[in-house]
Amino acid sequence: MPSLKELRARIQGVKSQRKITSAMKMVAASKLRRFQMRAEASRPYAEAMRRMIAELAATVRSDGSQPLLMRGGPGKTHLLVMLTSDLGLAGGFNANLARLMASLVQDLESEGERVLILPLGRKGGDAMSRAFPDKVIERVAGTAGREVPFATAQSLGGTIETLLADGKVDRVTLVFNRFVNAMTQTPLALPLVPLAVPDNDNRADDAPQYEFEPEEDELLASLLPRNLQVQLYAALLESAAGEQGARMTAMDNATRNAGKAIDTLTQRYNRSRQANITTELIEIISGAEAV
């Protein structure tokens, strides 16, 4: 049975923990809103890009003349790009992704492909270096929960392009947490190369034929790297929003658990205080009776 003093110290300790977790929850909530707004704002560009690619892809022949970013390489090396957070305390955010990675690696290898991993963010980098040290080709620094500048997507896109152009990888899949809502993030594997050409759904049959300047192939070749960056940017924003959502949920749970712990400890504290008083009273009364 801990003494009253020890109990008081523990209650104080849990109370300050609760303050920290509830502050972290507030911070995560406001960051979440910001990332969601940014993701919303980036949608018009992605939408217009999708429309242009769909239009172009329909006119470009689907043989070997397609750019590398569209058809992928001839070999069997598969690059998995993994987007994780730099900071922990976000529940199962990074662990879920690592689990998906492990099963993906297993699936791809059983199909006879060689797998390489490019993790972004400290958590993913650490996990992958532990699990697949021979497959991690490069580690990319994350954004530490701060703003996600478009430049991050640009440089990541550049890295992927170089790897493709050098023939080091032939196919690329992006593995990240899709933001469903603040409570739910679903780990998702999205193929980047070869590109799944979007359908040109809302185009009327009798719409006039587009002209292209420069030629289709050339325009497509310069559009695709930008499209890759835009897709990465969208995923980075979703992952950032998801991280904050996961942290918010995790911290909300931690705050609630701390509240429960405080209640139990306070109850125990009061019981032992009561017991002490009762003992003292008995001692005084029996002392007085003896006189």
Binding site: R38, A41, S42, P44, Y45, A48, M49, R51, M52, E55, L56, F150, A153, A207, P208, Q209, Y210, E211, F212, E213, P214, L219, S222, L223, R226, Q229, V230, Y233
Partner: protein, 141 residues
């Protein structure tokens, strides 16, 4: 009659506005977006997007390159980077130009794609300086 002009950067939609005419800097020459224009998709170089009302320029934006999707009733400009004219700084642009030119000199002669990329950047920064000088002269007169 007007066209709906949209200027979009990867980060956000910057402008959506109905204009009588907009002149955008196509990679192979300036092109005017007007109602009823034949649909065209093109690459853009660094330069100014000018919005016209009644034959007069009412607004101008600097873009550092990108793509445009133009149809009879709208013109979507996908810009790599957009700057308001007031945001352009000549000194800053000159420093960047000097940096780009020195890196251009260091690129191996065989590396044509890198040369190409840097050349495009240089062109964009030059256009930025030109735009800034234009603005400077305009305010002086």
């Amino acid at each position: 009659m007007s066209v709906q002009l949209e200027i979009i950067s990867p980060e956000k939609l910057l402008l959506r506005k109905d204009v009588q005419m907009a002149v955008i800097p196509g990679a192979e020459g300036d092109i005017a977006a007007m109602p009823g224009h034949a649909p065209i998709m093109m690459m853009l170089r660094g330069g100014l997007v000018s919005l016209y009302e009644g034959g007069q320029i009412v607004e101008q934006y600097f873009i550092s390159g990108g793509f445009a999707d133009m149809t009879a009733e709208r013109c979507t400009v996908l810009a790599d980077e957009v700057k308001m004219l007031s945001e352009i700084s000549i000194e800053n642009a000159r420093t960047r130009l000097a940096g780009l030119e020195s890196s251009f000199a260091n690129v191996a002669a065989e590396d044509i794609s890198t040369q190409d990329t840097i050349a495009r950047h240089i062109q964009a920064v030059r256009a930025e300086i030109e735009a800034a000088e234009l603005l400077l002269n305009a305010t002086r007169h």
